[in-house]
């Protein structure tokens, strides 16, 4: 709730905002304390819960990272993508293949997964970011489906519709991480690095430019920025972090299916972003948690018809939560601010 107060509203703001640095320093210290507590809580979790719960939490963290990477596109840059799972899946397959054929030593598979995600996003993104709005939605959907079809067709490499299985467990210093708790710490560490990376991107001058493009592209262009170049880089970065999440996913579940690259996964993660509140970075984390819990808790009871429930949540969310959970928090903040006049 306290991570990104400046991006909940302000539709007209263009260009980087200037804030006096002492306020910023104090604000940062104030914000850091709850974050530190949260981190300690997250780190202590495996000491108290069953392995299954630790596993579920690991999955939530991975999907949260995936969702935040999509939020960089949807919320910060204003590019709603329906094919983001393509880069997640490419990362997952890369990490799986690297682990099988070369090494599963800790940072190598996920780093290569992130690189593969970024390269794939760059290879397809130059086309996608030429367009905006609904065209972008359709193009990314088409690209995602193509990657999905490739994953299914290239049976020699990906294992086809059987999936890529037999991925060895992640190793740290030669020791395989087989305990759910240890694996959770590994996921937590990498995912936190990912969150910090995405937060830094969103709060850098580069991120401010992206928000400017989202809010008023013609104005940014007339100020001398090249929206195409910024959107393209944002797309590649988002793809890279999605690939990182995919790499973690392959290490955690140790099997990669073509569905992980497909439309349903893309829709799922877009739902997480919209449900949480696009543009806030923390909202999609909550959204991902809800989506994973709903799918994994109720999905098995519905005989694998989890997407049915997902569709219902989607429809309800569009009507009831136009700005996601973040919108609810934003309402509270605005009400509190209202008596004091314009903030």
């Amino acid at each position: 709730m306290s991570v990104v107060p400046d991006s909940t509203t302000e539709p007209a703001a263009a260009g980087p905002e200037v804030r006096p640095s002492p306020t910023r320093g104090r604000g940062l210290a104030l914000r850091a304390a709850p974050l530190l507590v949260l981190f300690l809580l997250l780190a202590a979790v495996p000491l108290f819960v069953a392995p299954f719960t630790a596993n579920t939490l690991s999955r939530i963290l991975i999907f949260a990272l995936f969702a935040v990477s999509l939020d960089l596109l949807v919320g910060i840059t204003g590019l709603p993508s329906l094919g983001h799972a393509a880069y997640f899946g490419i990362g997952a397959y890369t990490a799986g293949l690297v682990s099988i054929h070369w090494t599963s030593e800790a940072p190598v598979p996920v780093l290569l997964a992130a690189a593969a995600g970024a390269v794939a996003a760059a290879a397809t993104g130059w086309l996608a970011v030429r367009s905006g709005g609904v065209y972008f939605l359709m193009l990314t959907l088409a690209m995602g489906e193509l990657v999905h079809q490739l994953a299914q067709r290239l049976t020699g490499v990906t294992g086809g519709s059987n999936g890529l299985f037999g991925i060895p467990s992640v190793r740290v210093g030669g020791e395989p991480l087989t305990l759910a708790g240890l694996l959770y710490w590994y996921v937590l560490a990498i995912a936190l690095l990912g969150f910090v990376g995405l937060w830094l991107v969103a709060h850098s001058p580069f991120g401010s430019t992206l928000k400017g493009i989202r809010d008023n592209e013609p104005r940014m262009r007339s100020l001398g920025y090249s929206p195409f170049r910024y959107k393209f880089v944002a797309f590649a970065i988002a793809g890279g972090f999605a690939g990182l999440a995919g790499g973690l996913f392959a290490g955690l579940v140790r099997i990669v299916n073509p569905t992980d690259t497909g439309f349903t996964t893309s829709a799922l993660i877009l739902l997480a972003v919209v449900l949480g509140g696009a543009g806030t970075l923390w909202g999609p984390v909550l959204g991902a948690a809800v989506v994973v819990l709903v799918r994994d808790t109720f999905g098995p009871q519905l005989d694998g018809h989890g997407p049915l429930l997902l569709g219902v949540v989607f429809v309800v969310a569009v009507y009831v939560l136009p700005r996601g959970f973040a919108g609810l928090a934003g309402l509270a903040t605005r009400r509190r601010r209202a008596p004091g006049g314009a903030a």
């Binding site: 329906l82 088409a142 067709r153 049915l308 569709g311 569009v318």
Partner: protein, 293 residues
């Protein structure tokens, strides 16, 4: 050249048959977006409803079954489109993305309900009895049913063209694509138009589903494959343009058919390559209808 043409005649004809189907599908999607700014991501799911209706009424056994399936599919399509129009009405003032998300949710629900009813098996539907055989086209045997599909596509294209260019309803359609606010300022109830447009658009999707059943069968996941092809068609042709839908459908039909026949491993790349090529030359599609998107 002549030899190559003869050798690939069947693939080329197949391309026209797929193109016909894609046109029927894409023209609905394109008009709905062009006129009403609703990107209907449930279009593929509606198509699949039609295919499963063909399975239910055993459309291949007799003409009665085939026409029952077509009639029921048309009715279901109209109702579904009307319902969708009602559902999107509260979102009319919200960004286009919200409506797209709503239809995305609906497409997930419809696809899952279908898989609950029909299971995950792959159904095949035979052609109606009189069209089950094949005829000789320039020396190669070709299924009669697919020739009929090509004819239906051509007739439909002609009908749509006549309606849009020569009737007062067509004038309304063109005016709505160009400037919806002005049309409603002239005293035409926007909501009624929306019901009609979404109804007809969805009807085209379910009918295309029945017509396609003897070619594609019915299986889970078909909705996404079809939606993808239809989206590629209207992106290539230009949103809201009927001529674009026709040209895009014919191009993608050939890419799908000839591509799969000549270089089966790279068919997906060729599809993507065509899309990329068109968008590099014409970022808004070949026959861009609207400027503002």
């Amino acid at each position: 050249m002549a030899g190559w043409f003869d050798a690939n005649l069947v693939s080329i004809l197949n391309g026209f048959a797929i193109g016909s189907l894609l046109f029927i599908l894409a023209v609905g999607l394109s008009i709905v977006f062009g006129m009403m700014d609703v990107l209907n991501l449930a279009h593929g799911a509606f198509f699949l409803v039609g295919s499963y209706l063909a399975v239910t009424f055993v459309a291949g056994e007799s003409w009665a079954g085939f026409f029952t399936a077509l009639g029921v599919a048309a009715l279901v399509g109209l109702l579904a489109g009307g319902a969708l129009a009602g559902l999107t009405e509260p979102l009319a003032r919200r960004p286009i993305l919200d409506q797209a998300l709503l239809t995305l949710g609906i497409s997930l629900i419809v696809a899952e309900v279908l898989s609950i009813i029909y299971g995950n098996d792959v159904f095949s539907v035979p052609e109606p009895p009189a069209l089950a055989g094949s005829v000789s086209v320039a020396g190669s045997a070709y299924p009669t049913y697919r020739l009929m599909l090509i004819a239906v596509g051509l007739v439909l294209a002609l009908v749509v063209w006549l309606v849009v260019e020569k009737t007062s309803i067509g004038a309304l359609v063109r005016a709505s694509v160009a400037d919806r606010e002005m049309v409603s300022a002239m005293g035409i109830d926007n909501r009624k138009v929306k019901f009609a447009v979404l109804g007809v658009g969805s009807l085209l999707a379910t009918v295309a589903g029945v017509l396609a059943a003897p070619v594609y069968g019915a299986r889970p996941g078909l909705d996404k494959t079809i939606l993808l092809l239809a989206l590629v068609v209207i992106v290539i042709g230009g949103l809201g343009s009927i001529r674009g839908a026709l040209v895009g459908a014919l191009v993608i039909g050939q890419v799908e058919s000839l591509g799969r026949a000549l270089v089966p491993d790279y068919a997906s790349f060729i599809l993507f390559g065509t899309l990329a090529l068109v968008l590099i030359v014409r970022p808004r599609g070949l026959f861009a209808g609207k400027v503002a998107h």
